[in-house]
C-alpha cells in the first residue's frame, strides 16, 4: 500500500448507508486469512466500508445495469466494471442466467421453444388445467352450483311451469329412457334432474347446469312435442353434462386469464384490451366445438335409446326457418349456425 499515487482497484461510486450521499470510490481487496477482505476507499483514501467477501451482498448481474455491492453495515458500492465484479464473485447461479440472457443466436432456440410452448399451452395446457380443476372440485360443490343457479334463475327470469301433468310425464318418460341408456357409472355421477319452467324471454329452449340439472322451457314442450325431436335436444344437453362442458368452460376462461396475467406481463395500453377481446373470440370457437361435440353425443344417445336421431335435425331446421335473418356471423357466436349443424348432423347420422 506504499505506492500512493497509483490508483488501483475497482473504480465506481460509493453510497453511505441509507443515504444518497454519492462519491467516487474504489473497491480494494487483500488477503484476510481464510477469506478475502474488501474495502471501499474514496479518493482521499478514507475507508468507507470494509468486510469479508463472504459477508457482502452482491446483486446478480442484469443486462448492462450497474452492479451493486452492499456491505453488512449498509454502505453500497456501485460499478459498471462487470468483468471485475465477475472475477470477484466467480461463477454463480445469477451469472449463468445472465449468460443465457445474452442477445445472440442461441436465443433463436429459446424463442422457438417459447412459441411452441405457448401453442402447446393454448392447445392442451388449458384443457389439462381445466381437467385438473374439475377433478379437484368436490361433487357437492357442483351440486350446489346447480342449486344456486336455479335460485338465481327462478328469482330473475323464470316462472313456474304452466304445463299439464300429462305433458310433463311424456317428456320425463323420454328423458328417463335416454338416461337409462347411459353407462351405469355415468348415471351415478350426476343427478340428472329434469325441471320445467316458463321462461318468457327464452323461447323454445333447454339447458343443462354443470351438476346435471336439466331445465326445459314450456315453449319448447309446446312447440316441439314430437318424441324424436325431444330426445335429440335432451340428448344434446345430457352430452353437455356428461362431458362437463359448463365447468370446463368456467375453468378454461379462468386459466386463460391467469396465464396471460402471469406470463405476458404488462402489455401496455390498448394492447391489453385487444388481448382480452381476442381471448373472448378464441373462447367462442371453443364453445362452438363443445356444441358440436354435444350434438354428436346426443345423436348417439338417442340412437341407442331407440329414437330417430334425425329429430335433432328437425329442431334446427325449424329454428333456422324461423330465425333465418337473425343469425349472427359464426365467429361472433357461441353456437355454430343452424344450417351448419344440420349439415354436420346429416354427416354424423350417415356414419352411425
Amino acid at each position: 500500500m506504499s505506492d500512493a499515487p497509483q490508483l488501483r482497484g475497482l473504480r465506481g461510486h460509493a453510497y453511505a448507508a441509507r443515504s444518497s450521499y454519492r462519491q467516487p470510490a474504489r473497491l480494494l481487496t487483500r488477503e484476510g486469512g481464510e477469506d478475502l477482505w474488501v474495502d471501499i476507499q474514496n479518493d482521499e483514501r478514507a475507508v468507507l466500508g470494509s468486510a469479508y467477501l463472504s459477508e457482502l451482498q452482491i446483486d446478480p448481474p442484469l443486462g448492462t445495469a450497474p452492479r451493486k455491492v452492499t456491505f453488512p453495515d449498509g454502505a453500497v458500492f456501485e460499478t459498471s466494471d462487470h468483468d471485475a465484479i465477475e472475477a470477484l464473485t466467480g461463477k454463480t447461479r445469477g451469472s449463468m442466467l445472465h449468460h443465457y440472457e445474452g442477445f445472440n443466436a442461441r436465443l433463436i432456440g429459446v424463442v422457438a421453444i417459447c412459441l411452441a410452448a405457448a401453442w402447446v399451452l393454448w392447445r392442451y395446457g388449458l384443457d389439462i388445467m381445466a381437467s385438473v380443476a374439475i377433478a379437484f372440485t368436490p361433487p357437492a360443490v357442483i351440486e350446489q352450483i346447480d342449486v344456486g343457479s336455479m335460485q338465481t334463475i327462478d328469482f330473475t327470469m323464470a316462472e313456474p311451469s304452466k304445463l299439464s301433468d300429462e305433458q310433463k310425464a311424456d317428456v320425463e318418460k323420454i328423458y328417463h329412457r335416454l338416461v337409462q341408456s347411459l353407462p351405469q357409472d355415468v348415471q351415478e355421477r350426476h343427478s340428472f334432474d329434469l325441471l320445467f319452467r316458463d321462461v318468457p324471454g327464452m323461447g323454445p329452449n333447454a339447458f343443462a347446469l354443470p351438476g346435471g340439472t336439466m331445465v326445459m322451457t314450456d315453449a319448447f314442450v309446446n312447440e316441439f312435442p314430437e318424441p324424436d325431436v325431444m330426445a335429440g335436444v335432451l340428448g344434446h344437453e345430457i352430452g353437455h353434462v356428461v362431458e362437463e362442458h359448463g365447468l370446463r368452460r368456467l375453468y378454461r376462461s379462468l386459466s386463460t386469464y391467469i396465464l396471460i396475467a402471469f406470463l405476458a406481463g404488462d402489455v401496455g395500453p390498448i394492447l391489453e384490451d385487444v388481448v382480452l377481446e381476442g381471448n373472448v373470440l378464441l373462447s367462442l370457437s371453443f364453445s362452438r366445438r363443445q356444441e358440436t361435440s354435444a350434438d354428436e353425443f346426443g345423436l348417439t344417445l338417442s340412437d341407442e335409446a331407440g329414437f330417430d336421431p334425425a329429430g335433432l335435425k328437425v329442431f334446427f331446421e325449424k329454428l333456422s326457418e324461423k330465425y333465418a335473418d337473425q343469425e349472427p356471423a359464426q365467429w361472433t357466436s357461441t353456437h355454430p349456425s343452424s344450417q351448419e349443424r344440420v349439415k354436420a348432423i346429416d354427416a354424423f347420422i350417415d356414419g352411425l
Binding site: 442466467l97 424463442v111 405457448a118 360443490v141 335473418d325 337473425q326
Partner: protein
C-alpha cells in the same frame, strides 16, 4: 403542442435497450412456462429491476429490492382468496354477495399495504421510498368518491381523478422528503373538456362526412329483421368511432393531466418535476406498438416496452433545488402488531394507474 422542458430541467434518461431486454424477457418467459408459472414471480422482479436500474436522473438510478419469494407468496394468497371466493359465491350466492360487500372494506386496506410494499421496495440513489397514506383516506378515495362520481353522471370525474393522484403522490416520500402535488381543478377540467370537445367535433364531422343519420341508425337498432349488412355497418361504425374519437380523447386527457401533475409536483428540498408529453405522440406510440407486437406474435413486446419507457423518460424532467446527496432513508418504525407477520402479504400488487 411540443413545448420543451422548462429551463433547468434535467430529463430522465432511460438507458435500457430492446436487444438486451429481449434476452432477459424471453428467458423469463421460458423459465415461467417450464416452471408452470412459479418463476413468473422472479421474472417480475427481474423485469421491474431492469427498468428501474436503467432509469437515471442526474446520473443516479432507481432500484427495486423485492425478492421473487415475496411476490410468489403474495400471489399464492391472492389465488387462494379468489378460489375461496369463487367456491363460496357459486355454492351460496347470498354469502358471496356479503363477501363482495366485505371486499369493499378490505380493498382500501389492500391498496395501502401494496403501496407501502412497493414504495419500500423501491429506491433512488440508495434511498428507499416510503408511503404514509391511511386506510381511511384510501376508503374515501377509492370507494366513496367513485360512488359520488357515478351519482353525478361522471361530470365530476376530474375531481375523482385528482383525488386519486393526490392520494398517491402526496403520501409518497423519498427517504424523509415528502412529495407534494399542488394543482387546482382547472387543468383537470380543461383536459376533460378538451377530450369531450374532441369526441363531439370528430363525431359530428364523421356524421356529416358519412351522411349518417340518427333516424336510420335508430331504425336499424330497433328492427330485429334488419339485414346483417346493415348491422355490420353499425358495428363497424362503432369501432371507427372508438379509434378516431374515444381513443385519442383518452390520450388527450392522459397527456394533459400528466403534464399538469408533474409540472406542479415538488419534492421537499426545493426539487421540482416537469413533463411535456403530447397526446399525439403517446397515441402514435401506443397504436404502432400494438400493431407491431401483434404482427410479430408478441416477440417485439420488449422493443415496444423500451420504446415507450424511452419516450416517457425523455419527456419527464427533474429540476433540482439543491444537492442530491441529502436524502436519507426513513428509519423503519419497529414492527408493531401489523408489522412482520404481514410483510409477506405486502407482495400483493394492486395495479394502480399512477
Amino acid at each position: 403542442m411540443s413545448e420543451s422542458l422548462p429551463q433547468g430541467a434535467k430529463p430522465f434518461d432511460f438507458t435500457g435497450n430492446a436487444k438486451e431486454w429481449f434476452g432477459i424477457w424471453i428467458v423469463n418467459l421460458l423459465l415461467s412456462i417450464v416452471t408452470i408459472g412459479i418463476y413468473s414471480a422472479w421474472a417480475k422482479v427481474r423485469a421491474k429491476k431492469y427498468f428501474y436500474n436503467h432509469t437515471y436522473v442526474e446520473g443516479r438510478n432507481f432500484d427495486y429490492h423485492a425478492t421473487g419469494k415475496q411476490i410468489l407468496i403474495g400471489r399464492l394468497i391472492v389465488i387462494a382468496a379468489v378460489i375461496v371466493f369463487q367456491v363460496v359465491a357459486s355454492v351460496l350466492p347470498i354469502l358471496g354477495l356479503l363477501l363482495l360487500i366485505g371486499l369493499l372494506f378490505v380493498f382500501p386496506w389492500l391498496i395501502v399495504r401494496s403501496m407501502i410494499f412497493n414504495a419500500r421496495m423501491s429506491s433512488f440513489s440508495n434511498v428507499r421510498f416510503g408511503f404514509v397514506g391511511s386506510v381511511g383516506q384510501a376508503f374515501l378515495t377509492f370507494i366513496i368518491y367513485p360512488i359520488l362520481t357515478a351519482l353525478t353522471l361522471y361530470t365530476t370525474f376530474p375531481i375523482l381523478d385528482r383525488a386519486m393522484k393526490r392520494f398517491s403522490i402526496n403520501n409518497h416520500k423519498l427517504g424523509q422528503a415528502q412529495f407534494k402535488m399542488e394543482v387546482g381543478l382547472g387543468p383537470f377540467y380543461k383536459a376533460f373538456l378538451v377530450a369531450i370537445v374532441w369526441i363531439v367535433v370528430v363525431g359530428l364531422l364523421g356524421a356529416v362526412l358519412s351522411g349518417f343519420s340518427f333516424t336510420e341508425f335508430a331504425m336499424a337498432m330497433d328492427n330485429p329483421n334488419a339485414p346483417p349488412s346493415e348491422v355490420m355497418k353499425v358495428v363497424g361504425l362503432f369501432y371507427l368511432l372508438f379509434f378516431v374519437a374515444f381513443l385519442p380523447a383518452a390520450f388527450i386527457y392522459q397527456a394533459l393531466t400528466r403534464n399538469a401533475v408533474y409540472n406542479n409536483t415538488t419534492l421537499e428540498g426545493g426539487h421540482q418535476f416537469a413533463s411535456n408529453v403530447t397526446a399525439g405522440r403517446l397515441l402514435w406510440l401506443a397504436v404502432s406498438n400494438m400493431v407491431v407486437v401483434i404482427c410479430t406474435l408478441f416477440l417485439m413486446l420488449p422493443w415496444a416496452q423500451v420504446r415507450m419507457a424511452r419516450y416517457l423518460a425523455a419527456h419527464t424532467g427533474f429540476i433540482p433545488g439543491g444537492s442530491m446527496d441529502d436524502f436519507v432513508t426513513q428509519q423503519q418504525e419497529a414492527g408493531g402488531a401489523l408489522g412482520d407477520a404481514y410483510t409477506d402479504l405486502e407482495g400483493i400488487d394492486v395495479g394502480l394507474p399512477i
